[in-house]
Symmetry: C2
Subunit: 157 residues, 2 copies
């Protein structure tokens, strides 16, 4: 388990423009095989080395949704949401570049919008999401909307 870089945040601890940078994580061949099994997506580009080597990509690539899954794991490790997230409401995701076994991914979250209206005990936060590879190139971008506990709510910090 890597170090959690930030303490838990309630909705009220966030401000628009705040940025959070995760540690890096390598995506392995085994991660891709595990994800193929748990998702059931056995598309040859993700599971058949020989087939994948003959495509323009030249080898196995990670499922797009695996990149997204790794991004949520990096967000967990950041600790930004731990103990304060009530629900993930929606995600918009663009898959910008392929991710290959051995690539190292890093997540950047920035607070794009804060809406305190839903209920007194919770607010809706929109995070811009970017995942970069070891060359600093964006492989996934998008936005996530989450409901976060407010400081005034029971269990809030």
């Amino acid at each position: 388990m890597r170090h959690v870089s930030y303490p838990p945040h309630t909705f009220d601890d966030l401000c628009t423009g705040a940025r959070f940078e995760s540690q890096a994580r390598v995506v392995s061949r085994e991660d891709i095989a595990t994800f193929a099994r748990v998702s059931g997506d056995l598309t040859a580009l993700h599971t058949d080395e020989t087939y994948a080597a003959r495509t323009p990509l030249g080898g196995l690539v990670a499922h797009g949704v695996l990149i997204l899954a790794v991004a949520t794991g990096l967000a967990y490790e950041l600790g930004v949401f731990e103990g304060t997230v009530l629900a993930v409401q929606s995600m918009e995701v663009r898959y910008e570049r392929p991710v290959r076994p051995g690539d190292s991914l890093q997540l950047c979250l920035d607070v794009q919008a804060l809406d305190a209206r839903p209920r007194a005990d919770r607010g809706r936060a929109t995070f811009g999401v970017q995942v970069r590879n070891q060359d600093g190139r964006i492989v996934l971008s998008g936005a996530w909307q989450l409901l976060l506990r407010r400081a005034s709510a029971p269990g809030g910090s």
Copy 2:
């Protein structure tokens, strides 16, 4: 491996309004644990039975991105994309209801838009996505944009 209900489709085999209904798949406690490991998202609501039992949800729930991952696996089993998908470009996803261990999920895809312009050998298809549980209630909805091979392309049917 369940029966693949539809033959492969190139871009040119699709028409706006076409619908594809998958088989059902149960999401198990083990699936949630496996997804927690591969994603790295160990949020207590997905991993700690005792904690989850004390929340308003009353027990463990699946990660939202696991529901999405299962949807891609059900799409794979439909065979709609097999051999013709060149890239998944983007996804919009709304998490509508929690999914609990033992819930059975079914995917419905419908062709919302077809754009033949990107290149002569490929077209962009937008699919509306709905995942329902065993009670017929929507747990995930959204849209996926994919680049699909055209019948005229090398390797197309």
